[in-house]
């Protein structure tokens, strides 16, 4: 960090923050100067969100100092004081959908007249003036539920400014916006900047950062890696800082792709999800395909449409010549699709039921006779998976809620495998599991492909994607690259961030 001539809006130094055994921030820091638009980048788990919650006063750091314009941060309980310093537009809305825009702007600080009664006319007028000052064109009398994501963000920014804060944190503001929405947001940011507002901009898209930011700070593994003017740090350097240069080449995971004459088993043709993401691909027997991309890439939507969790608006999915009924999980199961869903707690497990019941949930016909389930056969069936996947459970009767996260994920994997799937879809299969469980879970992929089935790995974890024969990279709802096995980390990360490293 070099120039000290400009005053800082906020400065955090030597920040440490732990959550139980996890170190979220390790002697990290950031300094944002008046009037600049400062980018904060880092891969998932780098500590960005934790830093935001510390800078907005939602949590206190374990050690370290935060100052606003040189003065120490207000105490945690004084929300009003924090709001005068800093505001954050989170991905999750802090607007109340049932109230009008005007009331949302002046919630709990309504304009009051005689007898403490709210003067609605004056309140609406102030709201209109406030939005006009920051040129937000939204009808203040509409219920906030009718706003688009973009309008909602503008209203939240205007509200933040009305508290007196001139430093605004935007937490992945472009994640839910389309192309024109992003352009309008950037125009707005540029205009506000001209009016003296400072921004901390969090994004996964490097070209967005190049477009509107002056300075970029990179976090990796809970640490501050580098802060430099955007002009001095090219994309390659940013990506290198995000991934760490030490692991530039993959190991010996490169293997021969499946024979080109292997039968095509899975065809996804012109699939269009409800959110507008599109994908088409074919997979041969024994092929492992990765589907990667950042937060708003649409990879999860595509995966959910393939397995029937969400209903696509167009396109077909064919498994061994059988076309799946759109948006039907039972039909997908019958056709031989196995799924490890994204959120194992919500979609993957019934925590109070036993391991055996969870594993056999989708295959009642294999463990029963004449419509009655046989507990003995069920437990025998489950015991096989407990051994195969090395699930640490004292027996098939143990409730899943008693298992550790990694072992719970193995149960989800066992359930996906229970029907001998022809297509196995794994969505973030190793999220939140330890290294050993990770190895076991990814080892399963090898077994399944050995049987000639197709595996679709949907993730942005490099370790998950390393087992793939090829990786389809999605950016903003489109498959932009098809990268064969043997890629370098930097190339893949750059592709996910929407950058072409060939010219760096």
């Amino acid at each position: 960090m070099t120039n000290e001539e400009q005053a800082t809006v906020v400065e955090a130094t030597g920040i440490c923050k732990r959550f139980g055994p996890t170190v979220a921030l390790d002697r990290a820091g950031i300094a944002v100067r008046v009037g600049e638009t400062h980018a904060l980048v880092g891969r998932n788990g780098a500590g960005k969100s934790t830093l935001v919650s510390l800078l907005t006063g939602l949590q206190a750091p374990d050690t370290g100092r935060i100052t606003f314009a040189g003065r120490p941060a207000p105490p945690l309980g004084d929300r009003d004081a924090w709001r005068r310093q800093v505001a954050c537009v989170y991905q999750k809305s802090t607007i109340i959908p049932t109230l009008t825009v005007a009331e949302n702007l002046f919630l709990n600080r309504h304009d009051r007249g005689a007898g403490g009664l709210i003067r609605w006319g004056a309140l609406r007028r102030s709201a209109r003036e406030l939005l006009a000052t920051w040129s937000v064109e939204v009808d203040v009398d509409r219920p906030a539920s009718e706003l688009t994501v973009e309008q909602r963000q503008f209203v939240e920014i205007a509200r933040a400014l009305s508290f007196g804060a001139r430093f605004i944190i935007l937490d992945e503001p472009t994640a839910q916006l389309d192309g024109t929405g992003i352009t309008r947001l950037f125009d707005r940011i540029a205009a506000l900047r001209a009016q003296g507002v400072t921004f901390l901009f969090i994004s996964h898209h490097l070209q967005e950062i190049e477009e509107i930011c002056d300075v970029v700070t990179v976090f990796r593994d809970a640490r501050h890696i580098v802060t430099a003017p955007v002009a001095e740090l090219d994309r390659g350097a940013i990506v290198a800082a995000m991934t760490g240069e030490d692991i530039s080449l993959t190991g010996d995971t490169h293997r021969a792709p499946p024979a080109t004459d292997a039968a095509v088993r899975v065809v996804v043709r012109d699939l269009v999800t409800a959110s507008g993401a599109q994908a088409s691909f074919e997979a041969r027997a024994g092929e492992v395909i990765g589907l990667a991309g950042g937060g708003a890439s649409g990879k999860f939507e595509v995966a959910e449409a393939v397995v029937g969790l969400a209903r696509p608006t167009a396109g077909t999915v064919t498994v061994d010549g059988r076309t799946l009924r759109r948006g039907s999980v039972p039909d997908a199961l019958a056709a031989g699709v196995g799924l490890v869903p994204q959120d194992r707690h919500r979609q993957g497990l019934v925590p109070l039921l036993s391991v055996a019941e969870n594993v056999t949930m989708t295959v009642p016909d294999r463990i029963g006779r004449r419509g009655l389930l046989s507990p003995a056969r069920r437990d025998a069936f489950a015991r096989r998976f407990i051994t195969d996947l090395a699930i640490k459970a004292s027996g098939p009767q143990v409730p899943v809620s008693d298992l550790s996260g990694g072992n719970q994920q193995k149960v989800v994997m066992a359930r996906a495998l229970a029907g001998d799937p022809k297509l196995l879809v794994l969505i973030t299969p190793t999220a939140g599991v330890d290294v050993r469980s990770k190895q076991t879970l990814l080892g399963v992929v090898e077994q399944v492909r050995g049987r000639g089935s197709v595996v679709l790995v949907v993730s942005d974890e490099l370790d998950d994607l390393r087992v793939c024969d090829r990786v389809l990279v999605m950016v903003r709802g489109r498959v932009v690259r098809d990268i064969p096995s043997g890629w370098r980390d930097n190339d893949l990360v750059a592709a996910m961030e929407g950058v072409d490293l060939d010219h760096v």
Partner: protein, 345 residues
């Protein structure tokens, strides 16, 4: 508006054009009046069924018969807007005057009922205090211990009903002191006091919920509790206070009906909560919180009781009353759905 804003130069771009704003305001008011056409229609049908329907005596009769339940509807509306539920209001409606009667009436007069421990003059404060304490206890379980409001108040509904049956021995308190019967039985300016009280309470609630920060905070909490907390609203305190006020209102309503009937039966209010919920929902109050108005709730309860009155005037046999009450709720829901235009969720 802070002065920092007015000093900033405004870039080009005018605020939303006024005509659009006017129209949405008008629409918002229309939604409030959604049931008025239905009420007029029922009035016309009622007049055709029996010319008595629109006579002053009958209108006062309808208003009086609905006044006590209307207050409970108001109480439930407050709770529903914050996104909670209170099923126990129907038991509070019976128990609060029941406790006062139990403490006051003289067992020598009533064949062993009551304890005659408190002078009759304290009846009204006792009833209201009982209501407030029940609400405070509900709040303790729901807000402080974070228990599910539906189950807590379902349990309270049964417990409070059982308590009333216990202290009354399943019998009816009578020989109530004059202080207890006055409000429910007297008339002011030729109209029963309970009607005045009900109308006044609704008027106050319209102002409080529409025009005070405290009232608006109920909507904020019901709409998005995290956002409300972020705006500096003490959400727990407001919910707790709302539960106390709602129970106190239910106790007052119970006092009015006890005064009108000059007795407290062990079953006072039994089953009333379903009608209360129906009236609130018909009036456009959302069970998910954050939506609905006091005026809407009033039109809901009014519509319900007008239909019941028309059926009575039409000479529907008493055996069919329950069937028709249920049918009326369903029909009123459909009518309000058609006139209101939006699904009630």
């Amino acid at each position: 508006m802070s002065d920092t804003l007015s000093s900033t130069t405004a870039p080009a771009g005018a605020p939303a054009p006024p005509p659009v704003a006017r129209r949405t305001v008008a629409l918002a008011h229309l939604r409030d009046l959604a049931l008025v056409p239905a009420i007029i229609a029922v009035g016309i049908v009622g007049f055709i069924v029996s010319p008595v329907f629109l006579q002053a005596d009958n209108i006062i009769n309808v208003l009086q018969s609905m006044s006590e339940i209307a207050i409970v509807v108001l109480a439930e509306t407050l709770v529903l807007i914050t996104g909670k539920m209170d099923l126990s209001l129907e038991s509070t409606f019976g128990l609060a005057p029941g406790i006062a009667a139990w403490l006051i009436v003289d067992p020598a007069v009533t064949h062993g009922l009551g304890v005659h421990a408190v002078p009759g003059a304290l009846a009204v404060p006792l009833v209201l205090l009982a209501g407030a304490l029940i609400g405070a206890f509900n709040g303790l379980l729901i807000v402080r211990f974070g228990l599910n409001g539906f189950i807590v108040t379902l349990g309270m509904l049964i417990v409070l009903r059982g308590l009333l049956t216990g202290i009354s021995g399943g019998k009816t308190f009578f020989a109530l002191p004059g202080s207890m019967t006055y409000l429910g039985s007297t008339s002011w300016l030729g109209v029963p006091a309970s009607i005045w009280i009900t109308l006044a309470l609704f008027a106050v609630a319209v102002v409080v919920l529409g025009y005070t920060r405290a009232g608006r905070s109920l909507y904020a909490i019901g709409g998005n509790v995290d956002a409300a907390r972020a705006a500096g609203i003490r959400t727990d305190r407001v919910v707790w206070l709302t539960l106390i006020i709602a129970s106190t209102l239910a106790a007052l309503a119970g006092l009015l009906i006890s005064g009108r009937l000059a007795s407290v039966t062990a079953a006072q209010g039994d089953g009333a909560i379903f009608q209360v919920f129906a009236a609130a929902v018909i009036g456009g109050v959302s069970l998910n919180g954050g939506k609905g108005t006091v005026f809407g709730a009033f039109t809901g309860v009014l519509l319900l009781f007008m239909i019941i009155n028309v059926l009575t005037l039409a000479g529907v046999p008493a055996q069919w009353t329950n069937f028709l009450n249920g049918a009326v709720i369903l029909v009123a829901l459909v009518v309000s759905r058609i006139t209101g235009g939006k699904a009630q969720i």
